[in-house]
Every structure is written in structure tokens, then in C-alpha cells.
């Protein structure tokens, strides 16, 4: 602890390519919360230039472990253990003075959300310069600072102009690059990356992770990668730790853990991950029967036909004539990145948005724009965020009974409805705040199904959920589709998820359909370069080039 002021602190920007050749060792790391031990003692060490992945679902304690190592535990939590770095040894719990000398210099933290981790009122260059300045032994001149900032930006493949931009002027991927540049500005020995790509689009995720990997190898920096996504880790981490309920349940070399998991929980995680399991013909798809897809293919009874739909918000056009067809009993996927217009077309079909031009027909009858021309029985939506799509002041039972009443069904159907989405009957009395994300999404699905709609629109319905919960909800949708003969319009940015469920797929980009066809064909042999990029990005183990 006392040798923290040793002269080993590298000046900012000094020799990024001379690795500090010592490994990072953490022993007996424990986190105590207000109600007892939250993370049970565990050890690990990371060699220079190597990455250790810490995997677990939300609530497993992985983020708390990361925060403990960075000295950023929330109030009420304390850490125990020892962190040995090349330049210092830190005994936890450490004082604020120790953390100030360590955090940002020897240990850097890269946060999940590039939208909030950068200060909105400072230019990107200023924010990087601030970290450089703070870690520098001598006061740097303005020109030196600008020079270093440009150098750092170049490292993360950003042009020098970005230094003058405010965070809101950049895309999510660019912001995360700026955050990386800031985190690495001081040549830390250990980089902790807490879910660094969760908030990004599929095509950006791979790039950011590969960029991190490259920088890390070049500098000989150790990295701790926190993720809930096992697939993400393949080929990007040497070792992996799997954490559950604050305990390490499995550890080992990444490839052996992924190929031959010994703990049942790891196995469940791998099975739940669509990118790691059989991706050409999921069990789910096989069960849905070729009949449904076949009907649509022969053109018998199209349920919804949207033709040349355009939509502008002010002078911004988000849909340039999109045509989408959903056959009876068919599941159609719409994929695209955020901003591609996929949600807007779904909302136009649902009548929540008024299309600027184009025709949306249901059973061959054109519907006027807006909700007034549509009935609840025609279509229902399951929204992305289960935390805001249920009324927080109204109990689950009341919400569902309201929907049943709208459809003219007796309130006694409530129990059957809860059984349908595999929820216990006593949930009727609960309020949304008492439910987990997955349980809320089941309630949202039950509410949508209460009116027995012909079309179910799922707008990113599983993207806010953990992988294992995601799989449960996808299985539930697949089951309901078969049992109820539902037609589903499935909107997602996640190809792996669409692949599991959809018969046909449309690929949207900047408000245009760039490719469409049978799901299997489009996703195994994409013809449009954009689709090819998306597909490449979604297969985590193959880095994009």
C-alpha cells in the first residue's frame, strides 16, 4: 500500500508498446453487502496481454466484483481481498487516497453504456485530455495534449476531428471508442470492461471487442471482461470464470469450458445462447411445422399486406416505401439496426403511428392510418421494455381482466391465461414492481393474448432480457404459435433470435428493405452486403473483417 508512490507510474503517452511484464493477481476477493456476503471469496490472475472473462446473469454479482476491484462499490457494500499489480499491492478495503492513486492510472474501468459514461457537456477531446492530464506527472502544454489526444483517437480508429465533437454528435459505437480511448489514455495495467458492448448494435459489438483485444495485446495490458454473453467471449478471452449467485461455479480455458462445460449452469447458459447452438434449424422451428410456412408460400390468405409504406417525422424520412406481408399462421421477422425503421413499420401496422403514404391491408381490406380503424382482435403488441409496458399502479390481475373484458371474455378466464404463459395463479394479485423482467414480459404476452388477436407484433420483445430468460420467452412464443395458430411479426436487431423463430425475414436498412426471403436462405446465404455484414457480426466467434 505504501509503495503506491513508487516512480513506476508511466507518464501519459509514454511508450504504449512496452508492456509491464507482470501479471495481475487478485486473491480472496469478497464483497459484503448490507444483508451478508454477496460475492463469495474467489481468486484469479491475468497474464499481461491476456483477457479473463467473468460471465454471469444480471444479479450474479459479476458487476459488484468488477466495482470492488475498481473501488467503486455502492454505499453499503465493502470488499475484502488483495489486488497485486506490477506497481502496487492493494489491500481491500482501501482508503480513498489509495483508490485515487490507482483508479484511472493502474486500473481503468470501461462502462457498459457509452450514452451515459461520457459527460454530455464536454467535447470528446477534452474528456480524453482530462484523463491524460490527471495521470501525468508534469503539466502538459496544450499542444502536447492535443497531440496525445489525436494519437489516442487514432488508436481506436477515430479521426482527429472527433476531438472537437460532443458525445451526442457521435453514434453509439463511436462513443464507446471514445470511452475506450479515455480509459486507456493512462496506460493502465488492468482494464475492467463491464459489458462494454451490451448497449451497441450487433455489427458494432464485434468491432469494439476486436479493437479492445488488439490494443490490449499491443500494450501487454491485462483485461477483465464482464459479460452475460458466453458467445461473445469465444475467441476473445483466454480464460473464463462463470459466476452464479455470487459464487464461481466453473473456471478454465475458454475453449474447454465452451466445448465441455462441467457445471449444469454453464451448460444451461450455452444452450440458452442462440449463437452457440445449432443455428440452421432450431428445435423451435422444427416444431412449428412446415405447414404454416407452406400456406404462406402458396399465397393462401395473407393476413397483413403493407404496400409502399412511407413515414416522415418532420423533414426526416424513416421509411421509404416499405412493403411487408404476413401470411396466416406465419412468423415473419424484421431485422435491422437501430434507426433502420423496423419499429416504425411495426407501429404503423399496429396503428400507433400514422403512415405518411402507402396502404396497410388486413384480410385484404385497407385500413385507414391510426388506431380508430383497427380492432383489438386484429393485432396486439408486446413491447420491448417490460418495465414500462405494464401500468405500475395496476395489479397484474386487473390488467389482464381489463383485456379479457375488452374481448368479451369472462373474468374467470384469467387463470387459464396465466397458465398459458406459465405463471403461477397467485401472480394475479401482484403489482408489476414485484415481478422480474421475464415474468413481466410473460404478463405482457398474456395481456396481448387475452383478446385472442390474429396477429401478435413483438417489438424487440426479448432484447431487454437475460439470455436464459430470453430463451424461455422464445420457447413460450414458439409454443403459443403452434397452440393458438398465431401469426407473429417479430422485430429484432438480433439475427440469432430471429433465426430461431421466423419463417420469413425482411432486412431493413435506413428505411428500405434491402433483402427478404425465407429465413434460412437469407441468413445462411445473404446476397446484400449489408445482410452479409449483419450475419458476420452476429456470429460471435468469427471476428468481422
Amino acid at each position: 500500500m505504501t509503495q503506491l508512490n513508487a516512480a513506476n507510474t508511466p507518464a501519459a503517452g509514454a511508450h504504449p508498446d512496452t508492456p509491464a511484464a507482470a501479471q495481475v493477481t487478485v486473491t480472496g476477493l469478497t464483497v459484503d453487502g448490507p444483508a451478508g456476503v454477496v460475492v463469495k471469496p474467489f481468486d484469479f490472475s491475468i497474464a499481461p496481454g491476456e483477457t479473463l472473462a467473468l460471465i454471469g446473469e444480471s444479479g450474479s454479482g459479476k458487476t459488484l466484483s468488477a466495482k470492488a476491484i475498481a473501488g467503486l462499490l455502492p454505499a453499503g457494500f465493502t470488499a475484502r481481498g488483495t489486488i497485486e499489480l506490477a506497481s502496487a499491492t492493494i489491500e481491500l478495503p482501501a482508503t480513498d487516497a489509495v483508490w485515487r492513486a490507482t483508479r484511472g492510472r493502474r486500473i481503468s474501468l470501461l462502462l457498459q453504456d457509452p450514452f451515459t459514461s461520457l459527460s454530455p457537456v464536454h467535447r470528446c477531446g477534452t474528456q480524453i485530455a482530462m484523463t491524460i492530464q490527471a495521470a501525468s506527472a508534469t503539466r502538459l502544454s496544450k499542444a502536447e495534449c492535443t497531440e496525445l489526444v489525436t494519437q489516442r483517437l487514432a488508436e481506436v480508429n477515430l479521426p482527429a476531428e472527433v476531438a472537437r465533437a460532443y458525445p451526442h454528435e457521435l453514434s453509439g459505437g463511436m462513443r464507446q471508442r471514445v470511452a475506450i480511448a479515455a480509459a486507456l489514455a493512462t496506460d493502465p495495467e488492468l482494464l475492467i470492461a463491464d459489458e462494454p458492448t451490451t448497449a451497441l448494435d450487433a455489427s458494432n459489438q464485434g468491432e469494439i471487442l476486436d479493437l479492445l483485444r488488439g490494443l490490449q495485446e499491443k500494450r501487454g495490458m491485462a483485461a477483465l471482461l464482464i459479460s452475460h454473453d458466453l458467445g461473445m467471449v469465444r475467441g476473445r478471452a483466454e480464460h473464463v470464470l462463470v459466476m452464479r449467485h455470487g459464487e464461481i461455479v466453473e473456471r478454465g480455458v475458454t475453449s474447454s469450458v465452451l466445448n465441455a462445460p462441467s457445471h449444469p449452469y454453464t451448460r444451461a447458459l450455452i444452450e440458452a445462447d442462440p449463437s452457440l447452438t445449432d443455428r440452421s434449424a432450431g428445435v423451435v422451428r422444427a416444431a412449428s411445422g412446415a405447414g404454416a410456412g407452406g400456406d404462406a408460400a402458396t399465397g393462401v390468405g395473407d393476413l397483413v399486406v403493407a404496400t409502399d409504406v412511407t413515414k416522415s417525422f418532420g423533414d426526416k424520412t424513416v421509411l421509404h416505401g416499405v412493403s411487408v406481408t404476413v401470411g396466416r399462421g406465419e412468423t415473419v421477422g424484421i431485422v435491422g439496426e437501430s434507426g433502420s425503421g423496423k419499429t416504425t413499420i411495426a407501429r404503423c401496422i399496429a396503428g400507433l403511428e400514422h403512415e405518411s403514404s402507402g396502404v396497410i391491408a388486413f384480410h385484404g381490406v385497407a385500413l385507414a392510418p391510426g388506431r380508430a380503424s383497427r380492432t383489438p382482435k386484429q393485432m396486439q403488441i408486446v413491447f420491448q421494455d417490460p418495465y414500462s409496458s405494464l401500468n405500475p399502479m395496476i395489479s397484474v390481475g386487473r390488467s389482464l381482466k381489463l383485456a379479457l373484458r375488452v374481448a368479451g371474455r369472462p373474468a374467470s378466464d384469467l387463470n387459464g391465461l396465466l397458465q398459458l404463459v406459465e405463471l403461477p395463479l397467485e401472480f394475479a394479485r401482484k403489482r408489476p414492481a414485484e415481478l422480474s423482467g421475464g415474468q413481466r414480459q410473460r404478463v405482457a404476452i398474456a395481456r396481448a393474448l387475452a383478446v385472442q388477436p390474429e396477429l401478435l407484433i413483438c417489438d424487440e420483445s426479448v432484447s431487454a432480457l437475460d439470455v436464459s430468460v430470453q430463451k424461455q420467452i422464445l420457447d413460450l412464443l414458439a409454443k403459443l404459435r403452434v397452440e393458438l395458430g398465431l401469426s407473429i411479426l417479430f422485430i429484432s436487431h438480433d439475427l440469432a433470435v430471429v433465426r430461431q423463430l421466423a419463417d420469413r425475414v425482411y432486412v431493413l436498412r435506413h428505411g428500405d428493405v434491402v433483402e427478404s426471403g425465407l429465413c434460412h436462405d437469407v441468413l445462411t446465404a445473404p446476397t446484400h452486403p449489408y445482410t452479409q455484414a449483419l450475419v458476420a457480426a452476429s456470429i460471435h466467434e468469427a471476428p468481422t473483417h
Partner: protein, 285 residues
């Protein structure tokens, strides 16, 4: 990460610790004043009875715990009798302006468009009316009176209620659960009042309790200036005017009603704040 934080929040007992003692004292005070407002007549039957022989007795005089005023009225009895005018008026004002706020604020915030514009200009107009001037003009035209003051204050308090409810409704109306209700083709009126409004309730309750406090102070000021209640009525604000001249002979005649006005106004504030927190917690997601 967000779920970890949610757990952290849930485990921190901060919200439970927040001034519970002050809240219980406030509730006790409000309870006492309410009790006096209802049963004051039985405890102090003739509060306004004058007796020249007993005029200007200091506090602690036999038979007059808080002494008497210039006209020989017992200050304690007068104060007890004043509870009813101190409570009934402000509560009526708060309820009245809450009703106007709920009705116009919800319609304005949910429907937007021309109706929002009209209601918005109406609130602008009301906001620009100065309380005192309006009170004096109304007293001059219709005659001063307690219930006239209640009506006037309802009108003058309503624009802030309308604005607050409107803002809350606009925030809630953008939530997906409102769109889920639209998907069930519920009528706009039904969505407004059964889906959106319950989520604004904490805002409305807190604001109405604040209004009780403000209205009490407004009533007292108007009485003090002589445009509120008629002279000779038992009223705390009135007591301040009448007691001003005899502050040296019987300080209790001014201090006791003044302290009660401050105490009840603060208590209403604290309880309102506390109720708002409880309601917010019920609906927190």
C-alpha cells in the same frame, strides 16, 4: 448493471428513515386541529362572548389560561374556535383546485392540440392575477365573506394544479403501457382517468397538501388585512390583527395563533411530502 442497482436501492432503508418523527408530530398536530375544528363548539361554546370587566388579562390569569384580549374575549377559547375556519377553508380550496387540476390538467396533457392551447391561455390569465388585488375587488363587488374567499382562492390556486397534473400526464402518456391500452381500443376518457391518472396520484396528493398550507397562509393574510372573514369572527388571521395593538399586555393573543398558522402549514407540507413518497414507492417499477 441496472438490476444490481435496483437491489442496492431496495436494500437501503433510507426512504424509511426520512423524518418519521417529524411526520408523526405533524400528523398529531393536524389531528388535534381537526378535532378542535369539529368539536371546538362543545369545548369553547361562546368564544366570541365579550366582557369588558375581564379585558386585557395577561396569560395565566384565573379562568383565562391564555388571558383575554381588549374586548375581554378569552384567547384560548377564541383560538380553539378559530380552528374550524383555519381548516375548513384551506381544505375546501385544496380539494376544489385539485378537482379543477385533475379535470383540466388531464384533458390538456393527454389530448393536447387546441384544447390544450385554450386551457393553457386560461391558466396564464389566472396566473397573472394578483391575489390581493383580486381579493379586494371581489370583496368590493360581491362583499367580503368567508365562502367568497374560498371560491376566489380555488380559482387562483387552480392554474398551478392544472400545470402540474398536465406535466405529469404528458410524462406518463408517452409510456408503452398507455400504448398497450390504446391497442385494446379503450376510449380516450377511460385511458386518461383509469390508466394515466393513478400514476400521477402521488404528484396530486403532495401538491394538494402543499395547497392546504398555502391556502391557510393566504386566508390568514386576507383576514389580517380585513378582506377575509367578517370582524368579530373567531379566526387566527383575525386574531393577529386584533392582537397587534395589545402585544405588550397579552403577547399570547398574537403568538399562539401565529405559531399555530406556522405549525399547521409546516405539518401539512411534511405530511404531503411523506404521502407522496409512499405513493411513489407503491408504483415504483
Amino acid at each position: 448493471m441496472s438490476s444490481t442497482e435496483a437491489i442496492v436501492l431496495a436494500k437501503t432503508p433510507r426512504s424509511r428513515r426520512r423524518h418519521p418523527v417529524a411526520v408523526w408530530v405533524s400528523i398529531a398536530l393536524l389531528g388535534l386541529v381537526t378535532f378542535l375544528a369539529i368539536f371546538g363548539n362543545l369545548i369553547a361554546p361562546d368564544a366570541t362572548a365579550q366582557s369588558i370587566l375581564d379585558s386585557l388579562l395577561p396569560p395565566g390569569s384565573p379562568g383565562h389560561l391564555l388571558g383575554t384580549d381588549e374586548l375581554g374575549r378569552d384567547v384560548l377559547a377564541l383560538t380553539i374556535a378559530g380552528a374550524s375556519s383555519a381548516l375548513v377553508g384551506p381544505v375546501c380550496v385544496a380539494l376544489g383546485s385539485m378537482l379543477l387540476g385533475i379535470l383540466l390538467g388531464t384533458v390538456s396533457g393527454y389530448l393536447r392540440g387546441p384544447i390544450d392551447f385554450i386551457i393553457g391561455r386560461w391558466t396564464d390569465l389566472l396566473f397573472s392575477l394578483p391575489l390581493l388585488l383580486a381579493a379586494i375587488v371581489v370583496a368590493g363587488v360581491f362583499g367580503a365573506g368567508y365562502w367568497m374567499t374560498v371560491l376566489l382562492l380555488i380559482l387562483l390556486f387552480s392554474p398551478s394544479d392544472i400545470r402540474i397534473v398536465r406535466a405529469g400526464v404528458m410524462e406518463q402518456a408517452a409510456r408503452p403501457f398507455v400504448e398497450a391500452a390504446q391497442m385494446l381500443s379503450l376510449s380516450k376518457t377511460r385511458i386518461m382517468f383509469t390508466q394515466v391518472l393513478p400514476n400521477v396520484s402521488s404528484l396530486i396528493i403532495t401538491n394538494s397538501m402543499l395547497n392546504v398550507a398555502f391556502a391557510l397562509v393566504a386566508f390568514s393574510s386576507l383576514s389580517f388585512l380585513g378582506v377575509g372573514v367578517a370582524p368579530g369572527t373567531a379566526d387566527w388571521g383575525r386574531q393577529l390583527t386584533d392582537g397587534r395593538a395589545i402585544m405588550i399586555d397579552n403577547p399570547a393573543a398574537v403568538l399562539i395563533p401565529a405559531l399555530l398558522i406556522i405549525g399547521v402549514a409546516s405539518a401539512a407540507n411534511l405530511v404531503g411530502d411523506w404521502l407522496g413518497q409512499i405513493l411513489t414507492r407503491t408504483g415504483r417499477s
